[in-house]
Amino acid sequence: MPRLTLREAISEALREEMQRDPNVFIMGEEVGEWGGTYAVTKGFLEEFGERRVRDTPISEMVIAGAATGAAMAGLRPVAEFMTINFAFVAFDAIVNHAAKVSHMFNGEIKAPVVFRAPGGGGKQLGATHSHTPDVIFAHFPGLKVVSPATPYDAKGLMKAAIRDDAPVMFIEPVPLYTSPRVRDDVPDGDYIVPIGVSDIKREGRDVTIVTYGEGLHTALDAANQLAKEGIEAEIIDLRSLQPLDLSKALASFKKTFKCVVVEFGHGTYGIGAEVAAQLQEKGFDYLDAPIKRVAQAQAPAPYAGALEKSALPNAEKVIAAVKEIL
């Protein structure tokens, strides 16, 4: 099996889906001639032509809106936001239109659109370009939100997203795109990773770490170090934020009685808040200690390298949180 980076896996999924279904096409800023801002669609223009790989003006509202309209009329658009930070400009089209039409029109209209959104911080791009706002999109009924942490999951989830009849926000953690350590065995050809199903990425008996995206790798680092001290962490990768599957997290929690949530977005009203609320509702009798959250500091992302780093989760912070409740 070829070992692919996250970026290569996403690219392969897009290519295979475009080969499979003539209604799948790509639109967005710099997706064609430029080859994609992060080179995910490099070579696509040459392979599929201008009809199916469409460069747009810098117009996020109409990128999201027109992709939604085209989906309503039967196509399967993959609309790329250059980065998730620019999706804020298209917020209305995403949450008030793509996410609403199915329910508001009583099932008479569907909008099977995929919004690709590279996201995440840590690259010294400053406050406006370093968001991990994933949870905001997961707030709205009607939108599915996924964010893969491994190349295997990324390929399978992208295929699932394109084939799903619901609109899907597909959030790609930029820091993982080319990272050699997240290289993965990715099968050639077709397979699906279902949306809304979490995954156990590491088994352990002492503490449950719930995370997704970039957080998975931080959690794995922490778990490896903890293992040296005889502490075995179980790691649940949510993979999807909406629908949110906490069944594996709950089962793990009922075994370990302790939980730490790791997320790269801000913690206030974040994934950790939701996970903690649901675990105490459904597993109160198993609660041995406070559920801890490790998240991005509640400050806009600064430019200066060390300062930005200090605001983000890392293995040391996860280890400290685990030790606090053990």
Binding site: S59, A66, H103, M104, F105, K110, G142
Partner: protein, 326 residues
């Protein structure tokens, strides 16, 4: 023009007016309609003449002042009224309400409540036809106030850049809520605001259904031939307030009377029928009576219809998914 066509347009315009008058009563006197209610009285010729120019399969999409468009495409008045009364038999089962009517069987993609947003959806609907290689076009309706929002500019621009078959139909009724064009738009000649995006445009007497028809027919022909988006400024006037409860204090004294007394679209067509087509007063009266009976029957149907089942709340949040809570 064929006499039969003109008589049909007469019937459609009278239907819209009587329907809207009944809605007003059902809201203000009987309390059976709630929420927003944007009446189309005065603007009937725009929907009737332009939709009269489309062929079946051509798309129609509009904003929240959408009753006239729904009735003109041929949606059942009983089901539309039931929607306004929040009933299970409504066109979206009481989910969308007055602003969000829909009838995809007649390629009417809905009313939309967010100013300007549906222009981007229209670009997508037209994109889908262009992509599939059909010769269908998309008629999109919007108000003067909408020419000031970002969606408008992004949508006209992209439609032209991609040469898509969109007919942009501006219903210039002089006001967006209480703000006149003069107070809201740096360019008060709104035709120029369309032509700024390098597409053919035409100013039309929107109170004259025949002129509306002719101008729209020409625009549709051009778009169908691949000449790209077209712009029509329909000069029209809304007689009632923006929504129920608006006392229209922002209008100069006598302005409404002038439009109603000198340019009323129904009276204008009536004069043509009586003077040039040998239609008798009795024939027109018969049509009016027929329409009254139709509106009465619609009101009875709506009134007697059941409320939506409370357990339908979660249906269609995701397409095809019934009754599942996430």
């Amino acid at each position: 023009m064929e006499k039969a066509t003109l008589l049909e347009w007469y019937r459609q315009m009278v239907l819209i007016r009587r329907f809207e008058e009944r809605c007003d009563e059902l809201y203000q006197l009987e309390g059976k309609i709630k929420g927003f209610l944007h009446l189309y009285i005065g603007q009937e010729a725009v929907a009737v003449g332009s939709i009269g120019a489309r062929e079946s399969g051509d798309h129609v999409i509009t904003a929240y002042r959408d009753h006239g468009h729904a009735l003109t495409v041929g949606s059942d008045p009983g089901r539309v009224l039931a929607e306004l009364m929040g009933k299970a038999t409504g066109v979206t089962g009481g989910r969308g309400g007055s602003m969000h009517l829909v009838d995809t069987e007649r390629t009417f993609w809905g009313g939309y409540g967010i100013v300007g947003a549906h222009l981007s959806l229209a670009v997508g609907l037209a994109l889908a036809e262009d992509y599939k290689g059909t010769d269908r076009v998309c008629l999109v309706y919007f108000g003067d106030g909408s020419t000031n929002i970002g969606y408008y500019h992004e949508s006209l621009n992209l439609a032209k850049v991609w040469n898509l078959p969109v007919i942009f139909i501006l219903e210039n009724n002089k006001y967006g809520m209480g703000t006149s064009v003069e107070r809201a738009s740096a360019e008060t000649d709104l035709l120029k605001k369309g032509m700024a995006y390098n597409m053919p445009g035409r100013r039309v007497d929107g109170m004259n259904v025949i002129e509306v028809y002719e101008a729209t027919t020409a625009a549709i022909d051009a778009a169908r031939k691949g000449e790209g988006p077209q712009f029509l400024e329909m000069q029209t006037y809304r007689y009632e307030g923006h929504s129920i409860g608006d006392r229209t204090r922002y209008r100069p004294q006598g302005e409404l009377d002038q439009w109603r007394d000198e340019k009323d679209p129904i009276a204008t067509l009536q004069a043509v029928l009586l003077n040039d087509y040998d239609v008798t007063e009795d024939e027109l009266l018969a049509i009016q009576n027929e329409v009254m009976a139709e509106v009465d029957a619609a009101a009875k149907f709506a009134d007697e219809s059941p409320d939506p089942a409370l357990d339908s709340l979660y249906d269609h949040i995701y397409p095809g998914v019934i009754g599942e809570v996430n």
